[in-house]
């Protein structure tokens, strides 16, 4: 809005590597929320998601001087690092499913009916996501919540586009089944 031609993530990363003191703040403002949200959905734990976010951003700062321009999107690279860090944490802790839903929502003002419904739906979705296999969960989150394209998801997960389509389709089917029993309590009825 204020800047009609905002710098790309990659341009900001190059500026950071060249010593621009503002670039880190801009990148953090742009990317840290996405990393945190992704980690929270994969881990289901706010504190652990914050640790992963911090570590992922540190890795971004470290790779900056060696970043090869034009080879990969910064956001794609960061999603991949985030997912790998989440997997490492789950392996170390000996669990593959998240323990609990992510922390308090920040976008919705508390107390309103709409915000309460949104929070309950988000909680129900997180519970349902937690029942999915890791790869299905990751693909569904990247496609339907983070809004990445299938080719970008394929790059993040290091698989083919067809495999992404298969994972998201199976994931959505499983989510529908998991959420079917909770429609009534979440304000849905059979009439739609």
């Amino acid at each position: 809005m204020s800047d009609p031609t905002p710098m790309t993530d990659e341009a900001l990363l190059v500026a950071y590597a060249n010593g621009d003191p503002r670039a880190a703040a801009d990148l953090t403002q742009r990317l840290a929320p996405r990393v945190l949200a992704h980690a929270a959905r994969l881990l289901g734990d706010q504190a652990e998601a914050e640790d992963v976010t911090q570590e992922a951003m540190v890795r971004l700062w470290r790779i900056a001087p060696e970043w090869r321009q034009g080879e990969a999107k910064v956001s794609t690279w960061l999603y991949r690092v985030t997912a790998n860090l989440c997997i490492d944490r789950q392996r170390k802790s000996g669990r593959t499913a998240p323990l609990e839903a992510a922390g308090d929502p920040a976008d919705e003002p508390p107390g309103t009916e709409a915000s309460l419904i949104a929070a309950e739906r988000a909680k129900a979705l997180q519970d349902a996501l937690d029942t999915l296999p890791d790869r299905q969960r990751q693909a569904v989150v990247l496609r339907h919540i983070e809004g990445l394209s299938n080719p970008d998801i394929a790059a993040v997960m290091d698989i083919g586009v067809e495999a992404v389509e298969s994972l998201t389709a199976r994931g959505k089917r499983a989510l529908k089944v998991a959420l079917a029993g909770r429609k009534e309590e979440l304000g849905y009825d059979d009439a739609g």
Partner: protein, 116 residues
């Protein structure tokens, strides 16, 4: 319930998840920025414009060359200003001799005769 209805309902859940996404706390942002500052390569300092006399000095070959130049200058001035006392015997003696004989040059006054 059709497949489209299912997708619509599922989209409502996804939308709720997007709207309730956790946001980084101020503390987390501060930690991230502190690490960014610590890891950031320092910008190369802008080269200052060298003063004119430095470029002149470097054009002449730097300080050693200037030292040699000054030494040569002083030596040249001294040589030019000082009386040539050391040359006096060589120039004065031959012209001071009034009676030049063959002995003056040890019998080799006419070197062409030596070679025959």
């Amino acid at each position: 319930m059709t497949m489209q209805d299912d997708d619509k309902e599922l989209e409502a859940f996804f939308d709720a998840a997007r709207r309730t996404a956790p946001q980084p706390s101020a503390d987390l942002v501060a930690r991230i920025l502190a690490e960014a500052e610590a890891a950031q390569p320092k910008a190369a300092p802008t080269p200052e414009r060298a003063p004119w006399w430095r470029s002149l000095l470097e054009g002449l070959g730097g300080a050693p060359a200037i030292g040699g130049l000054l030494t040569a200058t002083v030596a040249g001035l001294w040589i030019g200003a000082a009386q040539p006392f050391g040359l006096e015997p060589l120039t004065y003696v031959p012209w001071g001799v009034t009676d030049l004989t063959d002995d003056t040059f040890g019998g080799y006054a006419d070197l062409s005769l030596v070679d025959g």
